[in-house]
Amino acid sequence: MKSILVYSKFEVLQAIRIPMVYVALLFMPTVGMILFVVPAVGDDPKTAALATASMCLFAVLTICSAQYGMAIAIGRVRPWGGYVRTLPGGPVPRIVSMLVLSAVLTVFACIPLVAVGAIATKATATPGGMLLGLFALLLAVVPFGLFMTAVGYSVNPLAIGPITSIAPVVLAFFGGFFTAPNEATGFMAHVAQFLPTRGPAELVWTALGGFTPSPISMVMFVVWIGVFAFWAYRAYRNDEGKRFA
């Protein structure tokens, strides 16, 4: 337990001293929300609440792509990670501390978004719903984190920048984060539910109330976790031989 605390503190210290973290986490999603979501949601409190939740989930996706995709790819060309593995710590505190950092950043990122939602839109939500929503957001770290871990180990570190900036936007768009959850039609309605971003979104919307998840999305949620876990494991194993040969 002590080592998990120390590792978590170390992860958080590393992250919070990077100014870009604040820009990426607090500024970007909030500006996006004010510019694109606030004018579009209209008068329905339910729709506004779900749109705010979608933006929070988008922030989680961005966090995961930076923290796992970007950090792992960069870590592969830096020997610090190798050094830490020579310390008598084991993998558990390392993995748990990454998840703790994800949780801390998620809460950070959601505060301004929820504030904008509450002030500038007619969004309403019960405290219980918001708590469940936060829980669903943290659950979304599992597939997103595994996915980005796989990307981080598979991709050339030089290519990781563009990939981790574009992938979240594309996945969020086709997952239906930027359209009203209950009004999706045509292409979106059929394709979205097979995407890895849809399952977590539907869980978050359901947690807030006023949305019923589709069975396909829920099955795909589990399937994608399996796929990403396997891919991440394979990518990690394949990478091991190349790092500091």
């Binding site: 002590k2 080592s3 120390v6 590792y7 170390f10 210290l13 590393q14 992250a15 001293r17 990077i18 830096r78 020997p79 610090w80 990670g81 190798g82 050094y83 593995r85 020579t86 310390l87 008598p88 710590g89 084991g90 091991e240 031989g241 190349k242 500091f244 040969a245």
Partner: protein, 302 residues
């Protein structure tokens, strides 16, 4: 003294097609300072990585304090230097100490470690703001935080000035005098010569020499004949040719005969100097054999 702390037995490590370490057996006895030498890519890092549990051998076994090197019980008793470029930039020096110290049951106190490596004034500095030498000192300091019995120091003094290097050497000697065991890799042969009592030379993944530093120097029986000469004649008895500026080092087993041959060959040479072999000469002779046709332009007997 004869307690073996770490042992590799018939260890081979392949990366796909490449064999980085090829059937190596090596004991690391307690109390020794062992120098590991080899050209870049010879397999030094891979061998050390297997001892510290970063790599598993493809074949053979590695034991660290009688355990698998991945066992935490074994790793609590070793210290390793991170390569300095890897320190997380936003974290302060004192915080890096805290992080590393948390892994060990009885770490050296922070003040003591920082003072010993002249880092006390830098405790509040983020590692990204350290100079190369400061970073190197921190990296080496981290190997000693957990009161290890065995430390692996990979290029410990790269980037240090002469004074910093000598301070560090004194520290390593002190650690060794108190019973600590050291495995040292360095491309400063002088450093290995100064510190190590035993030297292992690795080339192409194999151990090509494993002996005490003294006997390696002596038994190799090599001498260095240094001259200024426009072109080295193809004389027998030259093991290796090294060019240093306009001077040429001729490594040979028989300096007297070489000088006689040199005179007899009629080339105009000047500034003749003869030194009995250093570790560097032995190292060059040991690792040059397989590549001499590429490395040396003249002077080898074929």
């Amino acid at each position: 003294m004869n307690d073996v702390l770490a042992r590799a037995t018939g260890v081979t490590r392949r990366y796909g097609e490449v064999t980085a370490v090829d059937d190596v057996s090596l004991d690391i006895p307690a109390g020794q300072v062992l120098g590991v030498l080899g050209p870049n890519g010879a397999g030094k890092s891979t061998l050390i990585n297997m001892f510290v549990g970063l790599r598993r051998p493809t074949e053979g076994t590695v034991r660290l304090f009688g355990h698998d090197p991945r066992d935490l019980k074994a790793r609590r008793r070793i210290g390793v230097t991170p390569q300095e470029t890897g320190l997380p930039e936003t974290v302060k020096v004192g915080e890096v100490y805290d992080f590393v110290a948390s892994h060990f049951p009885n770490p050296l106190p922070k003040a003591e470690v920082l003072a010993q490596f002249s880092l006390t004034d830098l405790a509040q500095r983020q590692t990204g703001g350290l100079s190369g030498g400061q970073m190197r000192r921190l990296a080496v300091a981290l190997a000693f935080v957990g009161r290890p019995e065995l430390v692996f120091l990979d290029e410990p003094t790269t980037g240090l000035d002469v004074e910093g290097r000598h301070t560090l050497w004194a520290g390593i000697r002190e650690f060794n005098a108190a019973g600590g065991t050291v495995v040292l890799t360095s491309h400063y042969l002088e450093e290995v010569e100064q510190l190590a009592e035993r030297v292992v030379v690795i080339d192409h993944g194999r151990i090509v020499a494993d002996d005490s530093t003294d006997s390696l120097r002596r038994v190799s029986g090599l001498h260095r004949v240094t001259v200024t000469v426009p072109e080295v004649p193809p004389l027998p008895g030259i093991v290796t040719v090294e060019h240093v500026g306009d001077r040429v080092n001729l490594i040979t087993k028989d300096a007297d005969q070489l000088v006689r041959d040199l005179v007899a060959s009629g080339v105009a040479f000047s500034g003749l100097e003869i030194h009995s072999g250093s570790l560097e000469d032995a190292f060059l002779a040991l690792t040059a054999k397989k590549t001499e046709t590429v490395d040396t332009t003249a002077g080898t007997e074929h």
